[in-house]
């Protein structure tokens, strides 16, 4: 037996266990991030719901939710356009994937604009973090916290999407990276589907 043979035999790696989830580590990391983010949002929603339930004179200031309905349609549509980008990326249609990603980013930017406009309306009515013209001050803090956390995700997501699209077009990212971002974007849309009924529709003026 040669010396090289003996050395290799001495340092042979122990048999490794097969990875249980059989998915790329980046994708697993994204799922774990999403799961931790679910807990953060769930904590926000639980705190908001606790406050709302424990406060007898909780205000119902929203007279119309047309703007919120438009924002919801934009969010859902951007989820679909992100999936179209993913399908195009998987089919190696680089131009198509880039186009759909930029359309999705435009949806995110429009959503952000409408969301800030909605906030400005609330601020002009006197609703602040520690003030509320309709009663308990906690309303403002709860409203801005929960919608602000969602808005932060959308703003960061929109910027990240533009970066992903540019890097994908430049050849640094591939379809797997687009899929990772798609997971995050779908998650943001999912969170909005909980915020709309709990924060806006439950507080419609009657």
């Amino acid at each position: 037996m040669s010396e090289a043979h003996l050395t290799m035999g001495a340092h042979s790696a122990p048999p490794m266990e097969a990875p249980p989830f059989a998915m790329p580590f980046k994708k697993l990391a994204m799922w774990l991030f999403i799961m931790s983010d679910v807990m953060t949002f769930a904590a926000c929603v639980a705190a908001y719901s606790f406050l709302r339930n424990a406060t007898p004179d909780w205000p119902r200031p929203f007279h119309g939710v047309t703007g919120v309905a438009i924002m919801t349609v934009i969010m859902l549509t951007s989820s679909l356009t992100m999936l179209m980008a993913l399908q195009a990326a998987k089919a190696a249609d680089k131009a198509g994937a880039f186009r759909w990603m930029m359309i999705t980013a435009a949806g995110g930017a429009l959503f952000t604009f409408l969301h800030i406009r909605d906030w400005m309306g609330m601020i002009n009515q006197g609703v602040g973090l520690f003030s509320n013209p309709w009663g308990p001050a906690a309303f403002g803090a709860a409203f801005y916290s929960i919608t602000g956390f969602s808005l932060l995700h959308i703003v960061v997501g929109t910027i990240a999407l533009i970066i992903v699209a540019l890097r994908y077009q430049g050849g640094r990212y591939n379809a797997d990276d687009v899929e990772l971002f798609s997971l995050f974007w779908q998650f943001i849309g999912l969170v909005w589907l909980f915020i709309v009924p709990l924060v806006y529709l439950m507080n419609l003026a009657r």
Partner: protein, 104 residues
Amino acid sequence: MTTAEGSGMKKYVAVYVVLLVLTALQFIIGYQNIEGSQMAVRFLTFAIIESLLVVLFFMNLGSEKPVFIKFVVYFMLFVLATMNYIWTDSFRLLLFRVTGFGPS
């Protein structure tokens, strides 16, 4: 576009339409004169159905290995369920604020 990709997009569009319909129903419920707890239950039911559709189809969790699906579902359900122990305290606070009786 291949047949598989085409059928994939059809599935996504179908789920998108269902999500739009469910959301529209939520808005209709929002304008109805229903008691608060009943309304919350209806909203949450719709939101849970919507989130299942998004997670299974848009996030493609349904096509992952069963052991990963179990990991995600069991872990999330456990965490979300244990967050609900706070409710008794919110009712205690509500009772105190309305009646003035009971521990503050």
